[in-house]
Symmetry: C2
Subunit: 126 residues, 2 copies
DNA sequence: AGACATTTGATGCACACGCATGTACCGTCC
DNA sequence: GGACGGTACATGCGTGTGCATCAAATGTCT
């Protein structure tokens, strides 16, 4: 019976903490770099997997975003010039997503802001 | 320098965990009770503060939702009959929000689903 | 009392999202 | 080879959100 109350407390703490950080991140990334959190996260995943071109799926698997949302996010990033889409030769259904140099640069800059916000909002957590 | 990597790991874990639970909650509450997570959370806060009518502000202060989002959420809840808005006599700018009986009942039902999902998704957390 | 700043909640607007569906392609089985 | 189910990504649609703004009411200062 106590377990239920504990569960609710944990959930509220989790939600409060997440929302505080997410909200701060969203604002900071937008103001300083014109990026949505989803857009930054997408760039971030691409940097992580930057060894080669990635299929949409691979990117999607690494983050919590629906397939349609990712599709649009990548489209936005491409329009901004941070990413490039290319057809996949082997499987012509697939789409390769690749960081451009501008994308790599922009991510590097935004990463500073990202880290700063995380440090500000995520430190007091024993 | 290690601190940065740790920060990022913590953030990703937090985000992944939150999104998993939030997504499951959203779906379950919608399917079983026709409630948005925000709507459920709002009812939940009202139950917590059920001693008396609450001003919008008091509700807003207890949850992570912008003022405009709360305004619309309460409007939706009112249209569904779970909540009632009343003018505040002392300060005629303010609005009192009060749970209806139907709202109390609906929240009690939804609470079961809520707890079930939390138990399923939030337990493996040492 | 009168003018002005502040607060409270509602609303116009643009936008990112999820769901369902559409289109193109792949793989399999007859 | 042709038909058919499954997969990959794009897109139409409805919805909830935050930001900026608005109207009404309050508070303040002279």
């Amino acid at each position: 019976m106590k377990a239920e109350a504990d569960l609710i407390v944990r959930w509220r703490e989790l939600a409060t903490c997440y929302n505080a950080v997410a909200c701060a991140l969203e604002r900071a990334l937008q103001d300083a770099h014109g990026l949505t959190m989803s857009e930054y996260e997408t760039l971030d995943r691409l940097v992580d997997l930057n060894s080669k071109k990635c299929r949409m799926q691979e990117v999607a698997a690494a983050m919590y975003l629906s397939q349609s949302a990712l599709s649009r996010t990548v489209a936005r990033l491409e329009k901004q010039g941070y990413v490039q889409r290319a057809l996949c030769q082997n499987d012509r259904r697939g789409i390769f997503v690749e960081l451009t140099d501008a994308g790599r640069r922009h991510h590097a800059e935004a990463r500073e802001t990202h880290l700063k916000i995380l440090a500000e909002h995520l430190t007091p957590n024993p």
